[in-house]
């Protein structure tokens, strides 16, 4: 029972990080219709800036710097590349982000060389013992940060003008434009949020507790799990991203504990395939209808 509780808490902590990644991913998709394959490279970008500055500036400042860089990087990609082709088809834009991802990832990995620097000094590798149960501090903090950010996002999404504009645009781009909603601004803001969330996620990803490995190509691969998380929830559903993140985190933790560590990576994708076969647009996604 104790193991089970421990696994559930760890799974939810991981799920919170995946939810942040998936949420950013979904926001970008909703606002601009782009399946952002470059999300993993935003993660690396934020992480890279943070690890390079953490010795001089301390963890907090470097973390803020990393998060800000990831957000600005995303903004740059949107303004300079994606916004140039507003009418391009979704597959073309997805491929465009693959190009961005390849360049950014290769360059950061090259700069890192053989180093695998860790992030999260204040909380990493300091487990808390409660009775027989060991909790990882990273997962607990991730859970808390995730909960706060997600709440903030949903409040903004429901209550602010930007949130209303964003929802209107996701509902119907043309109608939103005719109502005077400035598409460029809404989209740009969405990319910034996506980048910022990716920058926050990496603070937990590149730790001993989470992945056991520092910032590397592996971090990029873990960030890819945002895909199944977003797909399980439905690519255009923000609530779905949270549920998807939690499902992915729990699936990974439970299968690693009760089946095998190797299987845990596949398990996530098996769950995703199962969901897709039953509901091709994810659990909460809008179904595509074809009218003749």
């Amino acid at each position: 029972m104790n193991t089970f509780i421990q696994v559930m808490v760890n799974g939810l902590g991981k799920g919170a990080v995946y939810a942040l990644l998936a949420l950013g991913f979904v926001i970008i998709f909703k606002a601009s219709g782009v399946l952002n394959f470059a999300h993993g490279s935003f993660v690396l970008l934020g992480g890279y800036v943070a690890v390079r500055t953490q010795d001089d500036l301390g963890f907090t400042v470097s973390a803020i710097l990393g998060v800000a860089t990831a957000g600005l990087g995303a903004l740059f990609i949107e303004r300079v590349l994606v916004a140039r082709r507003p009418l391009a088809d979704p597959i073309a834009l997805a491929l465009l982000t693959i190009g961005v991802d390849v360049i950014l990832t290769e360059e950061i990995i090259r700069r890192l060389g053989v180093e695998l620097p860790f992030l999260g000094r204040p909380y990493d590798g300091k487990p808390i013992q409660v009775g027989d149960i060991t909790f990882f501090r990273t997962q607990l903090i991730a859970l808390a940060v995730g909960a706060v950010l997600v709440t903030l996002f949903f409040l903004a999404f429901r209550l602010t003008g930007w949130g209303v504009a964003m929802r209107a645009q996701a509902e119907n781009r043309e109608a939103a434009a005719l109502m005077g909603i400035r598409r460029g601004r809404v989209t740009a803001a969405a990319w910034v949020i996506g980048g910022v969330l990716a920058g926050v996620a990496v603070l937990f990803l590149a730790t001993q507790d989470f992945s056991g490995s520092g910032l590397s190509r592996g971090t990029h691969a873990i960030a890819l799990v945002a895909f199944p998380a977003a797909i399980i929830g439905g690519l255009d559903s923000t609530e779905g991203a949270i549920v998807g993140g939690a499902i992915v985190g729990l699936t990974e933790a439970l299968s690693a504990q009760y089946i095998s560590f190797e299987f845990s990576k596949v398990a996530v994708y098996v769950v995703m395939l199962t969901v897709l076969i039953v509901r091709p647009s994810g659990l909460f996604g809008t179904r595509e209808r074809t009218r003749v």
Binding site: L81, A88, A92, L95, E106, L235, M272, T290
Partner: protein
């Protein structure tokens, strides 16, 4: 087609009913055969003059070309985004080893003739592609792209776990030698020489791969220009309209996925022969059958022009050829004065090049190299000489 659709479809060709004159009587026909002759020379002569290291680069390009042709049919012609190609390559390679090797301790083998193993590998890969139909038939667009990503992880896991088939990540298992009607490919048996050049392993593999690529390309061209190709494009452009025209949409979607997987299976066999080893990957993000390779294939077909068979081959020359060529030319692994762990290696440099090429193609030339080539051809056709040489058949 909507603005921004990425395809390299040629304009519909009008069937020509012109006279079939003698070969020499028509400059356009003569020119076309001249071009074919040049291509044939480019393919056939390198084994006579080039170092084995260059030949290996060329062989690798041909592997990429076969896989990219399969992917361009699926993604370019039929509009299904797939990242699963490395998985089907792995399946093809593993099947070839299992069918073609003798039974050994810890490694299952059926000891079938290698040619049967080759065909079996293609069929098994295609059958697995067909088995994916419940997903590929229901899931659309970008969702399908991510769904296919799952197969890469499945392949990674099975390759690591099912060591009696895959040989395991530690040592792998050796590739069976392809015995083509008495001529062995990976050994000098029987010894052959051609125009004074001994046909050793690299020369043999080159010619074998060239033959396989030729068959693969001809079949793809044939399919694209006839009924299956029209059905694929109809399904891609508008499923409802396609089905109103009598195209069985689920069936066509499943078929093209299977065909594409068969191409990947063949590329997998070629990969195993090239390495002379089947070795499952240790991680999903670096290796012969990893996500990186899936993205490299997408880069090839996008740079070449989605749906274009010739473009897929050109894309492979860039993406799979450039690292090897650079390594040989600079005689090392360090470009631009960088060195050590942070060196810009030819592989990294190639990633920069094709990453940038993807972005440029999407932003400025959605038809890729194929569209560029067609535009050059159109420009040339406006000149006096060009219009004579490039005129349609028999006119």
């Amino acid at each position: 087609m909507s603005e921004g659709t990425l395809t390299a479809d040629p304009p519909a060709e009008t069937p020509s009913h012109g006279r079939r004159g003698g070969l020499l009587s028509n400059p356009a026909t003569l020119f076309r055969w001249g071009v074919r002759l040049v291509i044939a020379l480019i393919v056939l002569t390198p084994p006579l003059y080039f170092e084995p290291s260059w030949l290996r680069v060329g062989q690798y390009v041909m592997i990429g070309a076969v896989a990219a042709i399969g992917l361009t049919l699926l993604t370019g012609q039929a509009g299904q985004l797939s990242l699963a190609h490395p998985f089907f390559m792995f399946v093809g390679g593993a099947t070839y080893c299992v069918l073609g090797s003798e039974d050994a301790p810890g490694k299952v083998g059926f000891g079938l003739p290698s040619l049967v193993a080759l065909i079996g590998a293609i069929l098994v890969a295609a059958a697995l592609g067909l088995a994916f139909a419940p997903v590929s038939g229901r899931v659309r667009g970008v969702y399908l792209g991510v769904a296919t990503l799952a197969l890469v992880y499945v392949g990674l896991y099975l390759g690591q776990q099912w060591t009696s088939l895959s040989g395991g990540t530690a040592s792998g298992r050796p590739s069976p030698d392809l015995n083509l009607f008495g001529i062995k490919t990976l050994r000098n048996d029987p010894e052959i020489s051609f125009l004074g050049q001994a046909m050793e392993r690299e020369q043999r593999v080159w010619y074998l791969f060239a033959l396989l690529l030729l068959i693969a390309a001809l079949l793809a061209w044939g399919a694209v220009r006839s009924r299956p190709g029209r059905a694929w494009r109809a399904v891609r452009d508008n499923e409802s309209a396609a089905s109103a025209l009598g195209v069985n949409v689920p069936r066509v979607r499943a078929e093209v996925f299977a065909i594409s997987s068969g191409y990947a299976g063949l590329a997998g066999v070629m990969t195993v022969m090239w390495y002379r080893l089947l070795k499952p990957d240790e991680s999903e993000f670096a290796g012969t059958y990893s996500i990186v390779v899936a993205i490299a294939f997408l880069a090839m077909i996008l740079i070449g022009g989605l749906g274009s068979v010739g473009g897929a081959i050109a894309g492979s020359v860039l993406v799979f050829g450039l690292p090897g060529m650079l390594t040989i030319m600079i005689g090392g692994n360090e470009l631009f004065g960088t060195s050590g762990a942070n060196a810009i290696t030819p592989a990294i440099f190639t990633s920069f090049v094709y990453g940038a090429a993807i972005i440029i193609v999407v932003l400025f030339e959605p038809g890729g190299l194929a569209a560029l080539g067609r535009r050059l051809k159109a420009t040339a056709a406006r000149t006096q000489l060009g219009s004579t040489l490039l005129s349609p058949k028999g006119s």
